[in-house]
């Protein structure tokens, strides 16, 4: 789970507004004062990195890894030649890079603003989780709620812990793949994450083990896991199967404005990994995440990704199809509301014969929201019998909504099958009138049209997520009419 809830204080100048829209980016901000046991202060430097590493009592190889990453971070330019200029508004000196477990917060439930309570209510967030998400409780007592899952999976030999613990207790398992799927220097933000990461989940599923229930980051939420720079590594050994879910549809109330995670998946021969994300960020968050999986022979990796909220999200889950007959799939839904830019997509790198990949992306742009699809499919000449199917559909709600599509498909060789379909549609007046004539308000009609648009993808989410997602779309659409 990577909600950066109210764990951070001011990270950006309030003067740094999204230049493209005149709306108040501070809406959705929600903080309270907490004293942290460990606090690396703000700003980034070798001292920050050393401090984080020492607090975590890390092995020296890990400190060296972090320090090298810091150098890479400094050396790498911002990807502004293709990406939005809004990235330049990130002020790295104002960010706090590490905060550890806090004390009991002073805020009480009565002090939580009514509109936030209402949002939780309408999203159907359980009572206990509401308090945590609103920052009333620093700890979510998840052990009680989910400990049976932990018990069951540990009996199967599954290792499921946070990054710090995992690297300390099982370096023999995790070090081999750590930073290998996404090297430090992959991009500026993966380098940043590599130097200051904390929190996140490390999972190892032994050979042939099929984990029946999805593993949820929920079950061990604590302050650290809500960090901005979490690091996740999932290794599914030969023939094993695992599903991982992160996030939830509740909005995260925070002023921490940079979230930059790295998620690496390794599916060994014949293994299957499904990674599900549903995130709803506050409208002031930069969400810059690198996610990639490595699929060996006959392995399958599937990313199901839903992005709602944030000021700017840049995320392109990828699969490197390394072994013969490996399969990769990315299913993504993005909703860009006023003042938001969802720059999402997928990468499929075919590196073996008879590998197949599927990308289905649906985006919704509301008001002045902007959705960008960026896809990369790479099939080199020397391979045989590879297949890719890419489908991206965009739905525009208002006349000033915007969508762009940048598919980069490089296919060489003559034994491959590649399909690409794209569509842009607009909710039309006649459709809305038709629904209104049946008694739905304009807002309800709009929600229903949007839910219909993403329905075939939402059905692939686990039940509780799809229900929440529908409600969330209803909430997001409410302000879009008039």
């Amino acid at each position: 789970m990577n909600h950066p809830t109210a764990l951070d204080t001011e990270t950006f100048d309030t003067a740094v507004e999204n230049p493209t829209v005149g709306i108040d980016q501070a809406v959705g901000d929600f903080t309270y004062d907490v004293k942290y046991a460990f606090d690396a202060g703000s700003g980034l430097g070798e001292n920050t990195v050393r401090y984080i590493s020492s607090v975590k009592k890390e092995a020296s190889w890990l400190l060296d890894f972090r320090l090298a990453a810091l150098k890479t971070f400094y050396a790498k330019p911002m990807p502004t030649h293709w990406a939005t200029k809004d990235l330049d508004n990130i002020n790295f000196d104002k960010i706090r890079y590490y905060l550890s477990q806090g004390q009991t917060p002073k805020r009480t439930w009565d002090e939580v603003p009514d509109d936030i309570k209402r949002t939780f209510e309408r999203l159907g967030i359980p009572e206990q989780e509401r308090k945590f998400l609103a920052g009333v409780e620093a700890q979510f007592d998840s052990e009680a709620a989910y400990s049976n899952i932990k018990e069951i999976v540990s009996k199967q030999g599954v290792i499921f812990m946070n990054s710090t613990e995992a690297l300390r207790e099982h370096p023999e398992i995790f070090r081999k793949w750590f930073g290998k799927v996404i090297p430090t220097g992959d991009n500026k933000f993966s380098a940043l994450n590599s130097s200051v990461f904390s929190g996140g989940s490390f999972i190892y599923v032994p050979k042939g083990v099929k984990v029946a229930q999805p593993l949820q980051a929920y079950f061990r939420i604590n302050a650290e896991n809500f960090g901005q720079f979490e690091r996740t590594l999932i290794i599914a050994d030969e023939g094993s199967e695992v599903t991982y879910m992160e996030g939830c549809t509740a909005p995260k109330f925070t002023t921490s404005t940079l979230h930059s995670a790295v998620v690496e998946l390794v599916a060994l021969k014949g293994a299957k990994i499904q990674y599900i994300t549903v995130q709803n960020w506050a409208p002031n968050v930069y969400n810059l995440v690198t996610k990639r999986g490595l699929a060996h022979e006959d392995a399958e990796i599937k990313w199901i990704d839903c992005n709602i909220g944030s000021r700017l999200t840049m995320k392109y889950p990828g699969v490197v199809l390394k072994g013969r007959r490996a399969r990769g799939e990315v299913i993504s839904i993005a909703l860009a509301n006023d003042g938001q830019h969802q720059d999402t997509g997928a990468k499929m790198i075919h590196a073996a014969d008879e590998t197949t990949s599927t990308i289905i992306s649906k985006s919704i742009s509301v008001g002045q929201g902007r959705a960008t699809y960026r896809g990369q499919v790479h099939i080199p000449k020397h391979l045989k019998g590879c297949k890719n199917n890419t489908e991206c559909d965009a739905l525009l709600i208002n006349t000033n909504s915007r969508t762009d599509t940048y598919p980069a498909i490089t296919v060489r060789g003559d034994s491959h099958a590649v399909q690409h379909e794209a569509s842009v549609s607009k909710v039309n007046e006649e459709q809305i009138f038709y629904m209104q004539q049946r008694g739905l308000t304009e807002g309800q009609a709009m929600s229903l049209a949007v839910n219909g648009f993403v329905n075939d993808l939402v059905r692939q989410f686990p039940m509780e997520y799809s229900v929440e997602l529908k409600r969330l779309i209803d909430l997001e659409m409410e302000g879009s009419v008039g």
Partner: protein, 251 residues
């Protein structure tokens, strides 16, 4: 007992007046047919009553049980009991008929009141049985890829579920084949009763072979120019709309 009263109604699209002073009162339990040549304002009338934003009412009034509905939003009019069976119903991809109707039924409930799923489906299946509609039908997306007949069936089912006080059925020029015609006719005849008033808009007399109207109105150039019983429809069929035009010219 309800009434829908259209009083000296004038309707314009952009600045062009289409309906030019039309008056008509329908009571519960009555079926009125409006016939007329193409472009005479029949569909405009139904859209304007339902509150389509492109149709501007420049004069006159529409009263439901004595109260004007012109200030109401389209959805408020719908919830007040006005149903429009569309000539060309919109497609809503990804939304099943069952879920769409559920949302529409829910919209009619008081705030905080939750629709009870079991009871809803029981009622839905009752209506489907009554209209001889296959159970699988409601799992399809609303009108998405439907044939003309299926669209009509979908409209009739919605009408049955929403139980309006008045149904405006716009069948003009829709080129209904004989199947679609029967679906509409059987639907109306099944739902016909003391609680429902129907305004049936049709270009051809043949629909009236299946639905016997209480009154037939001939519309021409934005007005009702002749009213009679079902024999008027037959006379129209025999003599054509030119007869009306000629008669008007002499009047």
């Amino acid at each position: 007992m309800s009434s829908l009263e259209i009083r000296d109604l004038h309707v314009a699209i952009d600045s062009k007046e289409i309906v030019k002073g039309l008056s008509l009162t329908i009571n519960s339990g009555e079926v009125h047919a409006i016939m007329g040549p193409n472009g005479t304002g029949k569909s405009t009338l139904s859209k304007a009553i339902a509150g389509h934003p492109d149709y501007r009412i420049t004069q006159g009034d529409v009263l439901l049980d004595g109260r004007s509905i012109l200030e109401l939003e389209p959805d408020e009019r719908a919830r007040a009991g006005i149903f429009l069976a569309f000539q060309y119903p919109s497609e809503i991809p990804g939304v099943s008929i069952a879920n769409f109707l559920r949302a529409a039924v829910q919209a009619r409930m008081a705030e905080g009141e939750e629709l009870e799923a079991t009871a809803y489906y029981k009622r839905l299946y009752q209506k489907m049985d009554m209209l001889k509609i296959d159970r699988k039908f409601t799992s399809r997306s609303v009108n998405d890829g439907f044939s003309g007949g299926e669209k009509k069936r979908c409209e009739i089912l919605q009408m049955a579920m929403l139980e309006p006080k008045f149904s405006l059925m716009d069948e003009t020029d829709s080129g209904l084949d004989i199947d679609a015609l029967r679906i509409v006719a059987e639907g109306v005849n099944t739902l016909r009763g003391p609680g429902l008033g129907v305004l049936l808009i049709t270009h051809y007399q043949r629909l009236l072979n299946y639905i016997i109207p209480d009154q037939v109105h001939v519309m021409y150039d934005g007005r009702i120019v002749k009213t009679g019983d079902k024999s008027l429809a037959l006379e129209l069929e025999a003599r054509g709309y030119d007869w009306v035009k000629t008669e008007l010219a002499h009047a």
